[in-house]
Symmetry: D3
Subunit: 315 residues, 6 copies
């Protein structure tokens, strides 16, 4: 059973809108090696787990739960990169119908769906506009094979994100991508370590791609903070993940792995403003009044004192 | 950010394997109107939410978090229906290679992937074998439209599950399907109520399909327990869901809606046994020893006292 | 602009339900070479037609309009073959929830979607359950190539239907399939003749497949009636189709081609009964009363005299 | 059975080519909520209709027939926006092979298929280049659910077209998009009204999106002409659509609904010129002579007098 | 550049038709981890290879060329398993149209496309009827990652084929599947060895699945012949594959790897008979005469003496 | 069984990078009418061939083998057009992480997958980014129909390539496209001739499109060399292709067809350099040393004398 807190696993850093950066980042969300796949692959593997090797189950599932928070983070990042992009390009929107094309830039974008189908927000598709596909979820049932498949998946995720990092200097993009690069290192460590317990010695090949990611300054800050050697189990009861995720990392970086319940910090979720040109959320004054009245009425019923206090404060 | 406990939102009831029932139930997991879609649709809508109508956001997101637990439940149910099905059909498996076809029944099944690709376990596909597709996630950005789309989705989910209920008397299938029918009623109530706050009067058309689901005995038990009038927010911080989900239900059943943090009860997750004919998990004695030794060693390091106690107990 | 009459282009012949025959026939509806493709291919080719060779345009478009009626016919046929199939298999349905699996046969069918997604009715998919796909519509813009592509399409349609004919003796299936075999001969003649006007001599290769389809008795009756040498333009204004579709057929059968406005006969559309086990249409007494009351009220408003007469007659 | 007249349901307004506007408009043709879907969804629902509630059948089917004409209109509009676009961009085409790249702009477009696969004409794909997919056709069999699904579909269609309207000031695009916005209002009214007859009171939520579309000047002209309160049944026999589509509209605009056989006006279909750079239609002089000769010969046979008159006139 | 000889890489062993075994085997041809994928993945990786590490290129490409011959072998095997299946089931075909359903069994099969679309022959689809998809081809460009991805691919191929082996005792199926199991072991060795050269020590985890495949008697015969320790480069010029594929195998089986130009033996390709019920090849006597006459005539032109000898022999 | 030589069937002509030309050319590789389809379609048709009309089999299969070499050629061409494109656009790459976006142009491209998923190299997708799909392979089993389908396929291939030729003056693109135009003419001749042997007289309609391709100068050079009238069987044993592919061509160009074993010339395969910004191949110095050491060691073992010679030479 799953629970939620309304916070993010990493910060959304403010910068200008950048719709083509948003489109590139879609690969990290809805691509064949993106966060929707990692989330679904690890959840399916853990729901369908056979046998009693509980530490392996807890490792796979713990990473899977983290991936839901990655989907949340990357979705927010894409939406932030898209948000306000029509206005930002010098075509400020006032109200629909004034005869000018307030979304004129939209039809020139790589994926016009960001404006026609979504309301300047993330979609469950990849950077070429193909929808996410369930056939990408690999769950072979064989433990060694599933672990190796997961390692390939994390390695590809890191590779693609290192490429995306180089595609834009936008800070909103780079903050999120850097965090995911570091977490993909941790997840490579997790699955490589699990295979190490079964006798594999990885020598010098990890991490994939084999390069010093601290060359990316945003990544360096996270490495310095040790984010790459932590793994969180996100379990409200308890987890045996630590039996595997501890000791020295197999990534040739000399670190010691640490299992924790959850990250040391979490971050506020920025509210997204209304976008009248998208009719989003599209509550006209009449509907807004209804919504407010209802909310008001319920406030009175549910928490009369709080409401009272609020009325007083208004005065 | 998301958290997990290793329990189920409803009970897995024991019965015989039934692979074609498992295949029908795939529609409820990976079908166009199944739980993977509801989960993704509500999560995307809440991650991309615009404006400050927080109670609506909390309602959509709370239902979305519940759907992850539904994916967990339905996956476990399908796997249970498949588990041991080759043996159950009178073709007991001993060891690969003895010249007899221990998975002989597999090639006659509707979706042989349950045995070739998965290891007698659930897949992210529908009942016709088509993989789940991201284009099914509808997130229009317009609040009224998103709520109506969600109502259509829940109504279709309930309709299809009422049809699936009639396809098999298997208790494992019916227990899960009945629970989902009841929860789909609660979710219809949730989205219909949200539209009611904006001025819609549903008259007599709800729930869809319009019939007394207490005719299904397993459903009746859950209705008697009031499961259909509860909605859980699963928030570790707090939620404004209650502002909408309270008062009288719009489903013509005279109930009062109640918002709670989580269900009153949760249920243990049954372990799935090894299946040597599927090479799942496929740890041969050599690998098993390695896994055990590592686990043992770590136990000693991590919790030397517990380990000691265990050694003593063994004696 | 398009118009409709509520009649069928061929008769639905009564026979027992046969769900696997219905599934095979799905290929003729939603398959890569089925009626949805022919309809869309010819409509796109005619909407996108370049140049002033109007007789060719009118020929392609006229066949395209006929294909919409084929979609109507084949949809009705599939639904007829599915309709009542659960009961027919000895599992008579009474009412949902009585503890027995009234749709028990559904989960054993090749495409359970006929019962879970549809209500014992046709789907826009092929015989392997794959949804119809727009990439199958070929519209090259080059007239000679489009005509050759259409000829290949009609030849494949006829080939597949001749194979389907042999898959079942069910009269409902064979009546429709035979009609489509004969019409595919006419359409082969149409596109082959158009290429003949541009200089091709087909020699002995047509029709494809090259065999005497009058060996199929239901086909023979239609050939005897001359249905294979007629082409209809279905135009309420006028058409130049006749300039091409006249003279001797290029199909090695010695017939003379005739262009007509529409078929000599059309056929009534059988009503499909309610299916409570599918919740289709699912108007409970309460909703039915509303529908009836409204309909009654409108009858009074719109045609008071007719209503009056009806009331009198009831007495 | 279906019929055709060679006229359009709305006018194609002349303006410059605009290939990215054409691409955006593809969403309205081949997108998940475009005209190909509405057409197929309503036709399937009416072909598979169960029970004797004929006015509801006639309403759904009547709208479905109109959608075929919308597919015709939007296809023509897209082709018009593409037609001549290479030349328009300052790269006038003379003849293939002169060493210059006469289609050079094509490879920079969002969907190069408009030039490689089609001949500067519409494709059955969406604005992101994904082909139309049959799984988008929803036909649940349950009348209330089908009507609600249709309402969501029309609402989404209108929402997306209001967004597309803002993406280009091109008159060809805006004329067609505005007509479709107005017709989507009529169709929202149709399905909302049908649900009203079953007891739903829509309050203030319709139309979706909730805004005054008369802010778009091209839309205003159509609203002033009352196009949004008419529904056409396009039946050559007769229809009971009027029983539902009459009385006050549920769209908060104070109009009275009117059922008519067909629109008051129809519009000529502009011929599309040859495009030698696309080899479309690609009849070289040799083939053109054959086509002409054949057509001439047939003219003589079919209408000797008209031909004679023509010969005389030539002198 | 590629060349061909009309022989098979392994023998087609005769046995009865078995259409559901054929369908299961489709996974090995057109499935996500089947031979079409391995072939395309390795060819793309070698065509897109960067850098001068030629032995790695030659290894990947050599395996890729072998996979084309695997596609040939598995296609032939599937077709053999389907060939004559309608007759085999006791419904002997005489000629189309005699009123009996000579392909009656076809509509009951899991994938009716084997009879409707193909002519009792293999299709480029998987065991659930989904067409092969290009997104399954992984070519990351990073050598270590590509090698690991290939190892996962071969491991999954072997796992699935070991499962399929157990699904049928049919000798035609088992002969081919056993050969592919053994070759997948060789290919696991190839990619594991390549990673070993870069420093990985695989310990005990290989092969995947970890079990003694000599338990399958048909596999044992091939292992005894050493087929699992050979790799062929199929190069008409020369190859550096041997630099990697030599020395001890990393599969825990104590063998020495050997690189050879091609397999020691090759096998004749059985001719497939005509199937009149499928209209395949469908040359009626008229067309057959034309084909023969042409062939005869050409024989005379091309090889007059041989022809002469043949004529004399006839007398 | 298949063999390979490390040479190309045509030359890669050097020119500047051009990523949008590369994307257009993807249609010729992974498009519905591209080389991956022709290759797979002809291989499937020949593997599934029925009956004893061996010259037809040898013709289809011979063309199929050539198509593998076309896939090789077009893949290399696309990669060449992409290779170095980021640097070429004025954003020279030094090393990842220096704070500048070295792949900045990538996110503006039509298919960012060329940089995120691939390493500046070809993908198995079409020009709109859709992955290649197995349903495009047509293998009807009926010989006349398969030949006509193949003719339509070759005609469409030539049509699309003639359009692509006009999209760019890049010499790398035009050299390959021109070669493919000429070979598609040869293949049109092959299938048209095969149908001619069965009695079809093509008159004036071929080739499709009907125009003098010698207007393209690069094409003219190849026509002058006679490449369009040759067909290669690529068989290491022997072939009866010549029985069909000889005599006068049916393409209205007055040529005589000639069957040969292989092309007169073949061409070297250019090596692709490392791309550090893509981490391709990504062997860091540590891994490179391992690879070199291993290779060195093996050289010593395998060819001690050659190695010795090399050492001496170094001095």
């Amino acid at each position: 059973m799953f629970y939620h807190v309304q916070s993010l696993i990493n910060e959304i850093v403010a910068d200008e809108p950048d719709p083509s950066a948003a489109n590139a980042l879609q690969e990290g969300l809805g691509g064949q090696f993106g966060e929707m796949r990692t989330m679904m692959q690890y959840l399916f593997q853990s729901f369908n787990f056979r046998g009693d090797a509980v530490p392996y189950l807890d490792l796979i599932q713990g990473v899977g739960v983290e991936e839901i928070s990655h989907v949340e983070l990357i979705t927010k990042t894409i939406s932030r990169l898209l948000d306000g992009s029509p206005e930002y390009n010098g075509k400020k929107f006032e109200a629909p119908g004034k005869g000018k094309a307030s979304l004129g830039m939209a039809k020139e974008q790589q994926n016009p769906h960001h404006y026609i189908v979504g309301a300047q927000s993330a979609l469950p598709v990849d950077a070429a506009g193909n929808p996410w596909n369930g056939s990408w979820v690999h769950n072979h049932g064989n433990l060694v094979l599933d672990l190796m498949d997961n390692l390939v998946l994390e390695a590809t995720g890191r590779l693609q994100k290192c490429r995306i990092y180089q595609m834009s200097e936008n800070k909103t993009l780079r903050a999120t991508v850097s965090f995911l690069i570091v977490r993909d290192e941790a997840h490579q460590a997790a699955f490589a370590k699990a295979l190490e317990t079964l006798g594999v010695d990885w020598g010098k090949v990890l991490p994939i791609p084999k390069f010093d990611s601290s060359q990316f300054p945003e990544v360096k800050r996270l490495l310095d903070a040790g984010i790459h050697r932590e793994q969180y189990h996100f379990r409200l009861d308890s987890s045996q993940m630590e039996k595997i995720f501890s000791g020295s990392a197999p990534l040739n970086d000399g670190t010691e792995l640490v299992t924790m319940k959850e990250p040391r910090e979490s971050y506020p979720i920025p509210m997204m403003p209304e976008r009248p040109e998208q009719f989003a959320p599209g509550l006209d004054p009449e509907l807004q009044d209804l919504a407010d009245a209802f909310s008001e009425f319920k406030d009175n019923l549910l928490a009369p004192k709080k409401k009272l206090a609020k009325s007083i404060k208004k005065k």
